[in-house]
């Protein structure tokens, strides 16, 4: 007897899909007790790992971290005030299956879009902050990501505030076609105006930062630092391997490689970033224009 093929297919129930696929790949699931380090293979308790800023206590490998965890780690207690958190993308160019993809991305990340923006204090210093979210379509930049970042820079320019930005992105979001490519130019325009206003912009490149984000605001900062081991590049390593028909050198496109080639100012481990950023902000406090403080 021939059985119908559909018998073995999973029902199109997104919640079921969520359970089996996304939950397992999410970095911070309370019911997942243990996690194995991708570098030293040590078995770590998820709780311990989170306590340690998601850095492997054995070898220092930096696990990916979601945007809210990062904001908690970097900003002063209760100082973060989110801006434009209620913006969601829609399927502007009618791209196949994009609506469904957005829906899954929101479930997987708990965020409305792939970047969280707002104002905060770091070590007592006020700044504007954006943190990209890898669990939302690998931090890809669509119109809403571009718009939120642009608005943040415009706000920072208006109020003469420094901007700190954590990047993690696979690049421009192809599901929004040319409009996502235009976000590269739009964000760059806002960065330029912020820069011409004499304001500090610091980018922290985290794993992975590639494509259209590397070719726009990630590489336009006054100070660019990177997390140890982060993959940073324009073209993805697989694309290059296919294109060149050759094996890539072992440290190719890592933060360390970029430091050697002169494209980042320094590599700063996650647990030292708050102190680093505090010092940097302190050194860039703008002198009052009239008289003394």
């Amino acid at each position: 007897m021939k059985l119908p093929k559909s018998l073995f297919q999973k029902p199109e129930n997104p919640l079921e899909w969520y359970d089996s696929h996304i939950k397992n790949s999410m970095p911070d699931i309370p019911d997942q007790m243990c996690i194995s380090c991708a570098k030293c293979k040590a078995i770590l308790l998820t709780g311990d790992l989170n306590e340690n800023a998601r850095v492997c206590p054995k070898c220092g490998y930096h696990f990916r971290m979601n945007a809210r965890q990062r904001i908690g780690l970097i900003t002063d207690n209760d100082s973060f005030k989110e801006m434009n958190g209620n913006m969601r993308s829609k399927n502007i160019i009618g791209f196949p299956n994009y609506d469904k993809k957005l829906w899954h991305a929101r479930l997987a990340s708990g965020e409305n879009e792939a970047v969280v923006c707002g104002t905060a204090k770091i070590g007592g210093y006020s700044c504007c902050l954006f943190v990209m979210e890898s669990n939302f379509m690998m931090g890809s930049m669509g119109t809403v990501v571009g718009e939120k970042i642009t608005r943040l820079f415009e706000y920072a320019t208006k109020h003469s505030l420094p901007v700190i930005g954590f990047t993690v992105s696979g690049g421009a979001r192809m599901q929004e076609g040319i409009l996502s490519l235009m976000q590269m130019a739009k964000t760059s325009a806002a960065v330029k105006r912020h820069s011409d206003g004499g304001n500090l912009y610091t980018a922290v490149l985290t794993d992975p930062t590639t494509g259209g984000v590397t070719a726009s605001f990630a590489m336009e900062a006054d100070v660019i630092i990177a997390e140890p081991g982060a993959l940073i590049g324009f073209a993805g390593p697989r694309v290059i391997e296919q294109n060149m028909h050759q094996k890539l050198p072992p440290n190719f496109q890592t933060a360390e490689f970029l430091l050697e080639k002169g494209f980042v100012d320094d590599i700063v481990p996650r647990k030292q970033q708050k102190e680093y950023l505090t010092r940097l902000l302190s050194l860039h406090q703008r002198r009052p224009e009239h008289g003394s403080v």
């Binding site: 809210r68 809403v144 590269m184 130019a185 325009a189």
Partner: protein, 274 residues
């Protein structure tokens, strides 16, 4: 014509390349080589020329004609030094008050070890930022392929024009098909989905003008004539504009993309800072 047919036409053998436009539209072209930092990238040709009597800076991505020439020019896929050479010429244009004309024709910026080592991403990013504030008019014309960031690196302009069969896309149709459907043969579907034709882009206000093409590559004289006349008229008008106004308009040209195409939801996200 279907989207993919246009993509195929934009890559067709015998299609005029960047240098053809330079030779047929301008006089007195003097090529200027090198980025003064690393080398000279033959994938991008740049220099000074005249448009009628008007001195202009011309920058073109050049795919090459013969096989040997194509290899030398890396098939029009520029390295960082290409973008840096272009920027150097643009800065000179700004200094001497010349308008800038860019001809875009690239499958994309080069994807390879050498390009990554020298900062492909950084060089494009710098162009985007600096072109946005360049105090002289810029017009970019897409004459063939407009592949992603590699095209945008010469297309932060006051106006973008496109030939009828050129395309401009965030990712190549092949790349899109292989990521989305894990099947690079689905280029037709991908070309359709990406909305990359001149007509689509006109609808999105991503370009200002579509230039009609003849059926045959052997006679592009009407195309050259219409570009020449169009450029002269537009540039004269832009040169008479106030600098601040020009830059404000350029900012606005890009600021509008995605400024009101989102949904506002009542509730904020469910997550909170731990």
């Amino acid at each position: 014509m279907e989207a993919y047919e246009r993509v195929a036409a934009s890559r067709a053998k015998g299609r005029p390349t960047g240098l053809c436009y330079i030779q047929n539209i301008f006089t007195d072209f003097m090529e200027m080589h090198g980025d003064r930092r690393f080398g000279d990238d033959a994938a991008i040709v740049s220099g000074i020329a005249r448009l009628y009597e008007m001195p202009v800076t011309v920058i073109a991505q050049e795919k090459g004609s013969t096989t040997k020439d194509k290899v030398r020019r890396n098939f029009g896929s520029a390295h960082p030094e290409g973008y840096r050479k272009a920027l150097r010429q643009m800065k000179l244009a700004e200094k001497f008050g010349r308008p800038v004309i860019c001809f875009v024709d690239t499958a994309g910026a080069f994807c390879g070890i050498s390009a990554e080592e020298r900062g492909e991403g950084q060089s494009i990013a710098e162009n985007l930022m600096e072109m946005m504030a360049l105090k002289t008019p810029i017009i970019s014309i897409f004459i063939g392929e407009g592949g992603s960031g590699g095209a945008l690196g010469l297309a932060v302009a006051d106006e973008v024009w496109m030939l009828e069969n050129a395309y401009y896309s965030v990712i190549s149709p092949e790349g899109c098909a292989s990521i989305l459907w894990k099947d690079s043969s689905k280029v037709k579907e991908a070309s359709q989905a990406l909305r990359l034709t001149a007509d689509d882009l006109l609808q999105f206000h991503a370009i200002e003008r579509v230039i009609p093409e003849p059926k045959d590559f052997s006679d592009f004289s009407d195309v050259y004539e219409s570009i020449k006349a169009g450029l002269y008229k537009s540039l004269q008008q832009k040169l008479s504009e106030d600098e601040t106004e020009l830059l404000q308009k350029r900012y606005g040209r890009f600021r509008k993309f995605g400024a009101d195409t989102y949904i506002t939801v009542k509730q904020n996200t469910t997550n909170h800072v731990n």
